[in-house]
Symmetry: C2
Subunit: 348 residues, 2 copies
């Protein structure tokens, strides 16, 4: 049997642990896996493009476990009431090839993206950073806010979205969470005085969410929204003034903010900052950018964390996704066995 | 919600339809998809190799649906009571990127492989072929026998395995199925006089299951077991005397019997025989070989068939693998909703 964690159980599990505690634990798993970066098999995403969007498979392995995420990106989905991005993931045992966990990953991706952002900021933002601007108040914004408070103690949020309803949603969702939130009228107003700037808009084109004159010395920019070819948020001049940190350069040069720059534009890999092989922030005046696009190892960390967290809880069910014939060669024999009771058959 | 068909329900569905009727229907879907071969996006498998085996993702799309199969191959798994090969598959809607079906595919792979074999033989074997030798009586053998009877009317089976227990299992499984089965003492004895020869051994090396002197004029060879690098069953001389038909040459030249031959060894693509663009059997004396390795479109056909067959039946359950927030941008709002009743949450 394969353990299964659907949307309902992910939500209940996170609530039972507390979302900030969950994010802290998740960030630890992500950090551990970045620390052993060279243990991972790294493959570009396998993408299938269509007129309306893309479906991708993102596999990786550390030699002990194999994991992959299925994720789509369909910008017009909200027009029919669907999510732009949905995802699910699978974790397997490399030694037998058997899957051991199937999980929803739409919510888990929001959580792991936020945990990765905050983890990067822990290494790259000024140690005294306590305020953050968030530009773009869509599906990921609350997770970002909660992860930055959990990992860095950021309580002051200066937020902006071109859609005022998105701001209302954000305020409502975080109402009782003891944040100090200011809804700005413009992006310029939102970033003024903020120690950290998170850009996480959904705009599917090369937009200028952040222009050079808006970025002061010492700021850390968490650039989350520029994550596929043709989709960027930062003016190129900012990249030139800053030091840019990335997950996996081969992927980020295609999908990230640095797709605007020359192929040899200098970047530092985040895992090297975490292991101490490269320097993170060097001075209070330096501008740092985490050009985040999301990488397969982060999903792997999330699946590993989820699997560890559900053991001994009621927050999973089981799927009969693998066969258990009496003898491995007797697959057909399954047709000759008595059928299981209906309750058992549909147990999942 | 995503429809889910586990091992239990696949077995009950197949039994409710009747396995030979199921194989006939499945073969029709496979034939339809071969007929529109150029509509498919064809990608090599994405493989992750380890010391003990391989885990592969096999995606394809026809522009309307996207499907992929997860499949492992671990030769030493039977030593610990596990299957060498397990698999599951997912079918999605290309227009939204949302998954619509998750299914076990260990049994479905056995069925689709057999249906593809019999479909190829329908085009390549002599029309009067009624007897078949089967060499290798492992997990796939009964499915092969049933598919060849369903599609070609083959009732006489001359079978052989180096392991006598495998032969006992085969006889027991097909005992009440009105076959005329002879268990041979050698592979030579099994193939003597057979119109069709199916080789489906599990030996993980370049073996000579069939040597040139064993193969008479007019025979059709269904070569199923040679399906990965370093694993073949036929002596090269047989390939030189015969006409060889394949699913997808790019893949078969690496994985199939023809991995023994030069890169330009002539082959005919099965889909072209099905559409009439290429000739199949030309004479009664010709030796034809279907060098089968299994291709992603066959899994796609199987998922499509399964999906159509379960509608309106009790042979599936539902998984909460995708989110349904009140508003697409309000993913976090799911944490603020009342939890569903436990029964609903664990429904799967």
């Amino acid at each position: 049997m394969v353990q299964y964690v659907g949307v309902g159980n992910v939500i209940e599990l996170v609530k039972s642990i507390g979302i900030e505690t969950f994010l802290l634990g998740l960030a630890e798993y992500i950090e551990d896996d970045f620390r052993r970066w060279n243990a991972f098999e790294k493959t570009p995403r396998l993408a299938s493009h269509s007129k309306t969007g893309v479906i991708e498979l993102m596999p990786t392995s550390d030699g002990e476990h194999y994991g992959f995420k299925y994720v789509n990106g369909h910008p017009t989905n909200p027009n029919v009431g669907l999510q732009t991005v949905t995802a699910f993931g699978v974790l397997s045992d490399v030694s037998t090839g058997y899957p051991c966990l199937v999980s929803e990953m739409t919510i888990m991706t929001g959580l792991r993206t936020a945990a990765t952002s905050a983890l990067a900021a822990k290494y790259l933002a000024r140690p005294d950073a306590r305020s953050m601007a968030i530009i773009g108040l869509g599906a990921q914004s609350e997770f970002q806010a909660l992860a930055f408070r959990a990992l860095l103690g950021v309580k002051r949020l200066q937020v902006f979205d071109i859609d005022i309803e998105a701001a209302d949603k954000f305020l409502k969702n975080l109402a009782d969470m003891d944040f100090d939130i200011v809804v700005a009228k413009t992006a310029e107003e939102a970033v003024a005085g903020a120690d950290i700037i998170t850009t996480v808009t959904a705009d599917k084109r090369n937009a200028t969410i952040l222009s050079d004159n808006m970025v002061g010395a010492g700021v850390h920019i968490n650039a989350v929204g520029g994550d596929c070819p043709g989709k960027t948020e930062l003016q190129g001049d900012i990249l030139r003034r800053a030091d840019v940190f990335v997950e996996y350069p081969e992927q980020t040069r295609i999908e990230g903010e640095i797709q605007q720059m020359a192929p040899d534009f200098p970047v530092t890999e985040l895992w090297q900052v975490i292991t101490g092989d490269a320097e993170g922030r060097r001075s209070n005046g330096q501008i740092t950018i985490f050009d985040s696009v999301g990488f397969a190892t982060e999903d792997f960390s999330a699946l590993r964390f989820l699997r560890d967290k559900i053991q001994g809880t009621a927050f999973y069910t089981e799927l009969d996704l693998t066969t258990q014939p009496a003898h491995p060669r007797d697959l057909y024999g399954l047709f000759r066995q008595q059928p299981a009771a209906p309750a058992e058959r549909s147990a999942a």
